[in-house]
Amino acid sequence: MAIFLDHNATAPLDARALEVMLPWLQGTHGNPSSIHRYGRKARAALDIARAQVAALVNVQPVQVVFTGGGTEADNLALKGVCSGTPDGRVLVSAIEHAAVMGPAEALAAQGWQVQYLPVDSEGRVDPAAFEKLLDGNVRLVSVMLANNETGALQDVRALAAQAQKHGVWVHTDAIQAAGKIAVDFQALGVNLMTLSAHKLNGPRGVGALIVDKRMDIAPQVVGGGQEQGRRGGTENLAGIIGFGKAAELARAELDTRMRRMRALRDHLETGLKRIPGIRIFAARAERLPNTVQIGVAGLEGEWVVMQLDKRGIAVSSGSACHSGSGKPSHVLRAMGVDAASARSAVRISLGQDNTEDEMQALLAALTAISSEHRSTGMSMMETP
């Protein structure tokens, strides 16, 4: 039986979310835009899901724009605000996910001036450096709430307050945070927020952008006028309904889940510290309760991932979207970690179904892998 410890890449669909989705995957269902009874029934189900997602982050249903996933929602946030003739600057943190980096680079190619906010050794955006870059000419700031690799949390509330003084819009990618910690759009004081269903045990292929009611954003996918004209295309009905249920469950069970994951992770970290050559990245930062990113001295992260895979344990060397690229993590590099140590990174991300026994199995496997390596004297990597 495989042990899955890669929940930040994708979390398994909750059986209860699946249960509400299944009826919508079978039988006859209308297009939510149709006015006959089938269509209206679909529309009503969509409205319920919208309210469930809205409640998770404390907004009104009208603020939720469903998309084909978190990446699309991040794209919509950046490109939707920065539309038309390039005019102004865009600030993004240096440790954003590719879903933000990608559109930021695309904006830069169009002529927008994109600047990257530096982070400290624990992966936190430096407020002083941020302040220096802020002025009324900044069109948008994008800082993620929780980092997908290290799990480090940003003080988005404070950063948003800083930006607000200059009248600057703030977007936060809350894909990894939602469902793992309490997320409150209003309390954070942000204007745009990205969510993804499959990172909170909902289905893949559906996400949402939460939009400040005062904001206009230019749609990126047009045609049909769905989602108040902000995102065209027939809605992914079953997916959205599953997202709604997953959001409802995440909200109801948040405390239990956090407590459990934190206990598992703390236990795991205690064990990891006993294995020679292992370090924990962003150890001193406030982090997600489920994420621990380690470096295994002298070993390639990718190689460790494959060794664990052979033992039936699924982890990743960083972002799933970057696996196989062989490039050291831009997140760790931004934190000042040297290239060799960054290449040794292995990310362990827990889910609600993981057990203490699985933590023990992982620790045993890592101990074996690192001692095997030491005993054979095999050098996977040139020391810096």
């Binding site: 994708t10 047009v222 027939t234 979207c321």
Partner: protein, 388 residues
């Protein structure tokens, strides 16, 4: 009144075929299959295998290479990606785009966006049969034309454009050709190796697959380049970033596989039902008018205008029927159909039109019942009306 509603709105969306639902459910519940196809570990590789199998299934239905199929969140995104992708990548080559007035909103709205960006759009008016003639395309080509986007089958009236002939013209002139095939894939044989088509949009939920998944065919030889619409992560050959929804893709793959198997059997059967529907309707209501070319049409779509009655009352009278008054995506605003207006129908006729769309699970009994409901309601409303 019987609570069972007759579903004749297959062009808006089709029911998910039970075999597709089964495959999808298997994918969602099966241990391990939930993994991210981009992940390096064993569950990730297994998911990737299923995605590639589905890609091959979609490619097979339209005789394309699997590598030419890009998965998207639906035909609307595919249309956006194709049109903006070409327009932006080749912006230095030219800024003139040719499309038609009867395209789906996904194409029309995308072109409108490009118009705001400084592109010039020619919108061809269909002939009275609702067809875009290849010669119209030839005549509107200019030296700065970069793209022609013409739908294969119109979603409201079901007419079939001659994309083979249009493709020869665009290829001859070195202009890219995009075809929205959301209404034709699985209903008409499509052979992309024989067609001079550079880009083709597909939908999952119009072919008995799930909603929220679609695909774009991007021709490799000759190669067409696109600017991506969604950046980050570099999935789908860098053309469409974002985590792939394995169950959705597997569902679309299975749906296209089934379409491939059933196409030759379904086309004549559904055609016969549509002919039965029109003949019975026309016999009951001789004033009824058929919209679109009488024969050059897809098997399952029938659009009829009813003189002398008001559209909203007609539609709401037929509550035992799930049909459309226009394209589902626009019917909520209850504006007279722009497609029917383009065919020269006046506001009354365009408003008092019904699109019946038949599909895999339609029976002759349902067709009879539909004719009965519509003709009874037509008579009732006519009797209620004063001399006009």
């Amino acid at each position: 009144m019987n609570d069972k509603i007759i579903y004749l709105d297959y062009a808006a969306t089709t029911p998910v075929d039970p075999r597709v639902a089964e495959k999808m459910a298997g994918c969602l519940t099966c241990e391990g299959m939930f993994a991210n196809p981009a992940s390096a570990h064993a569950p990730g590789r297994a998911a990737r295998g299923m995605v590639e199998r589905a890609r091959a299934q979609v490619a097979k239905l339209v005789n394309a290479e699997p590598v030419e199929i890009i998965f998207t969140s639906g035909a609307t995104e595919s249309d956006n990606l194709a049109i903006k992708g070409v327009a932006h990548f080749y912006r230095d080559k030219g800024r003139h785009i040719i499309t038609s007035r009867i395209e789906h909103k996904a194409v029309l709205d995308t072109c409108k966006q490009l118009e705001h960006e400084g592109f010039e759009i020619t919108r061809l008016k269909p002939d009275q049969d609702g067809l875009i003639r290849p010669e119209m395309v030839r005549q509107s080509l200019r030296p700065d034309s970069v793209l022609v986007s013409i739908m294969h089958v119109n979603n409201e009236i079901g007419t079939v454009n001659d994309i083979a002939a249009i493709g020869s013209i665009t290829r001859e002139h070195g202009v890219f050709f995009h075809v929205d095939a959301a209404q034709s894939a699985g209903k008409i044989p499509i052979d992309l190796k024989a067609l001079d088509v550079d880009l083709m949009s597909f939908s999952g939920h119009k072919v008995y697959g799930p909603k929220g998944i679609g695909a774009l065919y991007v021709c490799r030889t000759p190669r067409v380049h696109l600017d991506p619409l969604i950046h980050g992560g570099g999935h789908e050959s860098g053309l469409r970033s974002g985590t792939l929804a394995t169950h959705q893709i597997v569902g679309m793959g299975e749906a296209y596989h089934l379409a491939c198997e059933h196409l030759t059997e379904e086309m004549p059967r559904i055609s016969a039902l549509r002919v039965q529907l029109w003949q019975a309707l026309h016999a009951a209501i001789p004033q009824a008018l058929l919209n679109g070319h009488p024969t050059q049409r897809v098997c399952g779509i029938l659009s009829v205008s009813f003189p002398g009655i008001e559209g909203e009352s007609l539609l709401f009278s037929c509550q035992g029927l799930a049909v459309s008054s226009g394209s589902a995506c626009t019917s909520a605003d209850r504006e007279p159909s722009f497609v029917l207006r383009a065919l020269g129908r006046d506001d009354q006729l365009a408003g008092a039109s019904i699109r019946f769309s038949l599909g895999r699970f339609t029976t002759a009994g349902e067709v009879d019942a539909a004719v009965r409901i519509v003709s009874e309601e037509y008579r009732r409303l006519r009797e209620l009306a004063p001399a006009l």
